[in-house]
Amino acid sequence: MNLAWLYWGSVFVLLMAISSAFILAVRQKAFHALTTLELATVALLICLLYVSAIPWQVGFAKVPGLDALVFSIPYTAIFLLGLRLVPKAGVATLMIFGSGLFGQLLGRGLNPAWWPYYLMCGAGVEIFLFLVGRSMRSFWAMLGAGVLRGLLAYSYMYLILAPFLWHQFYAWWYVGLKTSLGVVGCTIGSWLAWRLAPAVEKAARYSNL
């Protein structure tokens, strides 16, 4: 049975949810246009998200399951530091979508089937940040954003994207293991970001020209 319609259904629901959230955010004046400096900072973070994965492409990261743990630590750390540096609506989505598209442009090849996945992960974090506030000063807010992204990314990947788009069927225990390891990696990444955030913010303050 071809269940690709479930994927497209999820894409449709996602687009509806994003459109509604966008209209709501515009009405509440939640969006502030990014300055050139903020755009450059987000571009730098997108680049760092891509670079951070390069050293882990060999060794432990190739063991099935462990890859989720290894890759999510640097990704989450840089992602959360980015959210601390540019605390504006839309930046989470911009970083996730931008880094995905950047990776596609540089080597994996353009594949629009992945784009709703990036948007979905970003939209989940945006809603979380909308609820808890954008400054993310507490450890729990950072942990929440990091873990939520990991949970959404791995669960959507293995429960929706893999079976309904790529026709790959995994045992439930494997999906659970991979998602759990990914969430553990995101937890470590969130802790790392929380520890390093004051130093990075200080560096950002003193890097004025």
């Binding site: 994927y7 630590i73 750390a77 540096l85 090849g109 353009l110």
Partner: protein, 260 residues
Amino acid sequence: MIACLDHPSPVHTLDARVKIAWSVVISLLAVILIDPLFLAGLLILTVLPWFVVRPPFARIRMLLILVVITTLGTMISQGFFYGREPRTELLTLLPGLSLSQEGVIYGAIVSLRLLSVLTAGMLVILTTHPSDLILALTKLRVPYWFAFMLTLALRFLPETIEQAKRIMVAQELRGAGGKGLISAGRRFRLLLVPLLAASLRSARQVALAAEVRAYSAHRIPSKDLRFSPVDWWVMGGLTLLTILGVIAAIVGRGAVEVMR
């Protein structure tokens, strides 16, 4: 770092938007086609332009490595973690963790799908400079600021890698070296702050340079994209391919029901 090949070929001269359309059509067909024969046909179709491009051996070797990793990886992962019945066990590693014949076969079929998308996407990347792809995206109504951000990310890439290497060498000289996963994690933690600090300074310089050059004003790209007759022909071919693919997906569905 940037995968685009310098030597010209007929595929290089195609408009970047046509190549994006090629990538989209192949991704769509890879998703909707289920019959292994049609999937194999799709893979052959995506490999054909490679003979026109004739990439150097190093690139072909890289592609072959990716093909082997993708195929074996999918066959092994589906072999072990395939969640459907029946399962004919070929090898048992642990209780409840065994390699199944059905999983391996299914993994081989799935890898046809993944390889089609991979070879089609790699061809686009090999024959189009990233800045042309970004220009094509702006022509396809992607907001200019988003394209500008991607261009900046491209510009930061070699510099960031170089900066990271420099910091790591400096840290090694101060005794922060070591091997293994724990050590790698410690080095990553030590690397992050100086790398971000140095890169943020660079980001500020670029932002300032962009603003003094009136970045926010109405942009006129220095290069323009125009469809040639060949581009129109290729677009026509892609439309036909999509229609045939949809028909093949409908026809192929029954065959797979029987196979499963």
